[in-house]
Amino acid sequence: MLILGIETSCDETSAALVADGRTILSSIIATQLDLLKKYGGVVPEIAARRHTELIGYVIKEALDTAGKTLDDIEAVAVTSRQGLIGCLLVGVAAAKSISYSKQVPLIGVHHIEGHIFANRLSHPDLPLPHVCLTVSGGHTMLLYVEADCQYELLGTTLDDAAGEAFDKIAKFLGLDFPGGPVIDKLSKQGDRKAFNFPRPMIRSRTLDFSFSGLKTSVINAFKDKVRRGEPLPLADIAASFQEAVVDVLVGKTMRAAEERGVTTVSVTGGVSANSRLRRVFEETCKRNKIDVFFPDLSLCTDNAAMIAAAGYARMMMGEVSDLSLNVFPNAPLEG
């Protein structure tokens, strides 16, 4: 079963060809990094315009790279839920047109379900049930994954997503966009213990997250240094901030695994590319005799291959959409 995946929910225009939900034949991602750097973040109208310009080229490139044509496609999977509305609709409009023209099934996919399936692309035998931490610039969620497409939400962020906190702190420190990779790199030269930033909600009984207070703490520490006229240890601030985020993400995930009695943890989403997060997860999981899985780095950030993989799973459950498929920017993850 050859599926064309399409993903345009935020700032990456992406198309991919995936066979049987597990073999990636091509995965094309056109980033809008130039625009992000210019505007210091995603501007929905500008991102939507760029998607409209690129969508056809990206789909053609995915076909050409795989050595296939649209006649070979057996279904089209597209992100239709969660994201920027003007961006989502470009991908869905393209997917519908191809589904109608080639008379192949159309499958609307939830963006976060895509991230969950990114790890299945990298690890086809990822054990079930497991606890999944999916964390990016748009969301931070802990899920109990009982079986394919069966989720129980254990916790979510009450304010900023973890990746969003990285972006905002990077912007405040005058670093480049997106903040995740920049802070990751800079932190390697810094002292993780230089600042004792709070670990928000780490002791709370829920598995929810909050990063807004941490962000304020970091900004206050920075301003304090400025006020005293002291040198600004950017690398130390970055490393200490990152360590606080990592501690909370790992701590809560381990508790979720313990509460649910699972021995497998799946970490996915853009922030799962963070090298310190991976390191701490690996060390902690090893101590606790838990297996931890991360997607390949190319599958951490938004991509259409994961959408095709999730679409395949939904299709195997008999779930397909019709041509009236619409977009839902704030739809909850169901299943």
Partner: protein, 231 residues
């Protein structure tokens, strides 16, 4: 040549099919702010009602705007991906041209007008009838409807949705009566104009097809203004 035309730039959306000078189908429906949900299903049903399938379509005309930014992104994406998927040629048609075409027999000078969202702001352009179609004169206009007084001269007719209201405002400014033709962008108009172009062998690059916004996003306008005032 059987040509499918679509336009999603307005609160109404339109699908039409022509074969040469003959209109096979012309369907306009209320989409409000949701072009995405209905457009592809309505292309299918419009073709069906004309006894056709997508395989019978030999070319596609796409309304490029100006109009609703969200709407034209949907229409342009659908138009270009259908053309790409079917391997058929595509011709972009501006929504103003499609409106002017509807009034081509009304006057030697046609001013097509579309509301630009806020207050009395409009997108507009002047056209004259030309070989059964229309040809644009001068540049596109974006601004307050009163500014049209500088564009108009002689016995122009205003065409568009709300043309009567705009004609009254402009007529008062100019101290004369301006004729108005109420019209919505039509699918068959888009198809007819595209058909003429495609028959002549003119076609647009399918994958490069882009909406005609005529206005920058507010963020871009803001950054450009900020940059120019600080450099």
């Amino acid at each position: 040549m059987i040509v499918l035309g679509l336009d999603t730039s307005h609160y109404t959306n339109a699908v039409g099919v022509v074969e040469g000078d003959k209109i096979l189908a012309d369907f306009t429906y209320e989409a409000k702010s949701d072009s995405l949900e209905q457009i592809v299903a309505n292309i299918e049903s419009t073709l069906q009602n004309a006894g056709l399938t997508l395989k019978d379509v030999e070319g596609i005309g796409v309304g490029l705007g100006p109009g609703s930014w969200t709407g034209i992104r949907v229409g342009v994406t659908v138009g270009k991906m259908l053309a790409f998927s079917e391997g058929k040629p595509v011709a972009g048609v501006t929504t103003l041209e499609a409106l002017a075409y509807a009034a081509r027999n009304e006057s030697p000078l046609i001013c097509a007008v579309i509301g630009a969202g806020t207050g009395d702001a409009v997108y507009a352009a002047l056209y004259r009838p030309e070989n059964g179609a229309v040809g644009r004169i001068g540049e596109y206009y974006v601004g307050d409807v009163k500014g049209l007084t500088a564009l108009l001269s002689g016995p122009a007719v205003l065409v568009g949705n709300g043309a009567r209201k705009y004609a009254d405002i402009v007529g008062r400014e100019m101290g004369m009566n301006i004729k108005a033709v109420e019209a919505l962008p039509g699918g068959a108009s888009v198809a007819s104009l595209a058909s003429r172009r495609l028959t002549r062998g003119e076609r647009d690059d399918v994958l490069a097809l882009t909406p005609l916004y005529l206005k920058e996003s507010t963020a871009k306008a803001f950054v450009n203004k900020y940059r120019s005032s600080h450099t």
